[in-house]
Symmetry: C2
Subunit: 195 residues, 2 copies
């Protein structure tokens, strides 16, 4: 046997990516074998190499794709222009967007150490760009006298870390709706940056 029924590049390619995404998030990059990914797709291990140069490139591609999507989504969002409204937009956007892609987020934050130095630098630059988006908002608020912060850089990291925490515990169908969670977090963030 060789080429199987209904096989198609357009289909197999994305399926490899989504299978890898799910498995990497579940078990970690190093713990997932190429054969495991192939099995999930329903194909032999060797077939993957028609789509990826090697395992590490697959990881990089997943991470880089995710980071670029986050940035693009934030850029594309319609935003108010006062700092307070911007910050609320960011908080709600971050929680909503990241909750919809918890696997991608998990990988992007956990598998950095499995990247080569060069690839690491690539991803790190993208993450910094996203952090800068928030810091810009905070700086604007400080200048306008709306926020009181001794250090916008630390505040940026603190807020993002806090928001990322949602993904470690929130499960849809739980006690609170996603909208309620957004509001609770926005409340805490707002208070933490104002006087």
């Amino acid at each position: 046997m060789a080429r199987t029924q209904g096989s198609h590049s357009d289909i197999t390619g994305p399926r490899i990516r989504s299978a890898a995404l799910k498995l990497f998030a579940q078990q970690g990059y190093a713990a997932v074998s190429v054969r495991q990914i192939a099995k999930e797709v329903g194909v032999q291990a060797g077939a993957l190499y028609n789509y990826i140069p090697d395992k590490q490139s697959l990881l990089l591609s997943l991470m880089e794709g995710h980071m670029r999507e986050v940035l693009a989504a934030w850029e594309a969002l319609e935003k108010p222009d006062d700092a307070m409204g911007l910050l609320e937009s960011f908080v709600r956007f971050h929680i909503r967007f990241h909750m919809q892609r918890s696997d991608e987020v998990f990988i992007a934050y956990m598998e950095l150490r499995n990247l080569s130095d060069e690839n690491f630098a690539t991803i790190e630059a993208l993450r910094r760009a996203y952090e800068d988006a928030l810091e810009t908002v905070l700086k604007q608020g400080v200048e306008a006298g709306q926020f009181t912060l001794p250090d916008t850089k630390i505040a940026t990291l603190a807020v993002i870390a806090m928001l990322n925490g949602v993904m470690t515990w929130y499960r849809s169908g739980g006690r609170l709706s996603l909208d309620e969670v957004e509001t609770v977090y926005w409340d805490m963030v707002r208070k933490s940056v104002t006087t």
Copy 2:
């Protein structure tokens, strides 16, 4: 050759644990081989099995040991009895303690998925106990009218996530001293839980 000069169970045991700790934190449990740990200790791979039943037990032991130490250290701490003072104590304790053991923390939060179901439950229970310590403080503050929180459970998780964020970026010798960092975070936490 067999037993080498100066070999001693009392020495090799801890050295295995600390080598494993360092390597697991650096590269992840799944990516570190038993032979790598052995090399770091300066011993052959087989020798490790005089000290551990298997690789997984080593991971569990490291995680469990850490969690118990955190809990014990918090219990042993001398604390004020008003909620505000307690919360400040917790924030400063958490940052200081966890910064001194960043490897342990990293492992305890990242390698949960490499644990068997039973072992996972053990660690999860210990983590919950620590979270409860903070939630108790928050509840006390809410009852006393000092804190304003719609949901102490979420607030607990949000605060811990925020504090844990320090470890992803703080490096000693940087722009701020650990004490200053503590103060900045305490400021944000205090404001986020009060009106």
